[in-house]
Amino acid sequence: MRFAVVQFPGSNCDQDCVHALRGLGQEARLVWHHETRLDPDEGVILPGGFSYGDYLRCGAIARFSPMMQSVKAAAERGQVVVGICNGFQILCEAGLLPGALTRNEGLHFRCEPSHLRVESPASRFTSGYGTGQMLRIPIAHGEGCYRAEPKVLEELEARQQILFRYCDAEGRVTAEANPNGSSHSIAGIRNQAGNVLGMMPHPERACEPEMGGLDGKGILLGAAGIGRSA
């Protein structure tokens, strides 16, 4: 499948996403935030980084870029959209996913491997994994604390939109294993239609043994529509 990796001013995981996707046999092209064209069969990646320096609020300025209007339209048409880290923040600011990402509870930026529990394999992004499977994928963010109204959280739970939760090395979801204080230990969610994924951990950093594991492959391959074969 082909992916458009969007470059906002200040994106810095754009090249990493291209590298990871190509390494998995997918096509990837970089598109500048001023552009508007997206092909109808293309998947979209909003990569990590600090779009507009994360000034004002993370993702707040990026959502107004011309490309984001195209991304919204593509998402509504059912095209796959994956927001990683800063990309997740942009998706929330743009209203493509509910909730918001706020300053980590510990107030510090954290870059470390995180353990994730796959909550629901019933999505294209997690179809390569089993329920409760444990993944080890790095996080690197200062504002990854997921917050939403109680009602929204209930809905996310009820509709199995929560795809990943932070857990400890044994797979237990605990407060200690939650690196940023996210409500319900949320690390990644999908939209109701199932074509938009936002997650704070970086799957593109876990696609090669030399980089510390392969656990991120399934997510990117899942986005490409390649399920269990991973």
């Binding site: 507009y52 320096g53 000034y55 004002l56 300025i61 107004f64």
Partner: protein
């Protein structure tokens, strides 16, 4: 009583955040805007105490804690009521 402390960057200090917002604001069609400066608004609810002493203490807190005297100015506003 309520104390409102407004912290702003000193005029000669670069405000990267303000610059980025300025750029975005222009991008959204407001060409007339010339400058954006972003500061902090801090509210403290206070019960009881001698106003004069409070004011002196709040000045100190604003200077030492709430603002960074190296780069920022502050304005303290002490109001009666909640």
């Amino acid at each position: 009583m309520k104390a409102v402390v407004t912290v702003t960057l000193k005029p000669s200090i670069l405000d990267p955040q303000g610059e980025a917002v300025l750029h975005a604001v222009k991008g959204m069609g407001l060409q007339e805007v010339k400058s954006v400066r972003i500061g902090k608004h801090i509210e403290l609810e206070i019960e009881g105490g001698d106003e004069k002493k409070l004011k002196a203490k709040l000045e100190e807190i604003s200077r030492e804690l709430l603002s960074n005297p190296v780069m920022e100015n502050f304005h303290l506003d002490l109001r009666a009521g909640g």
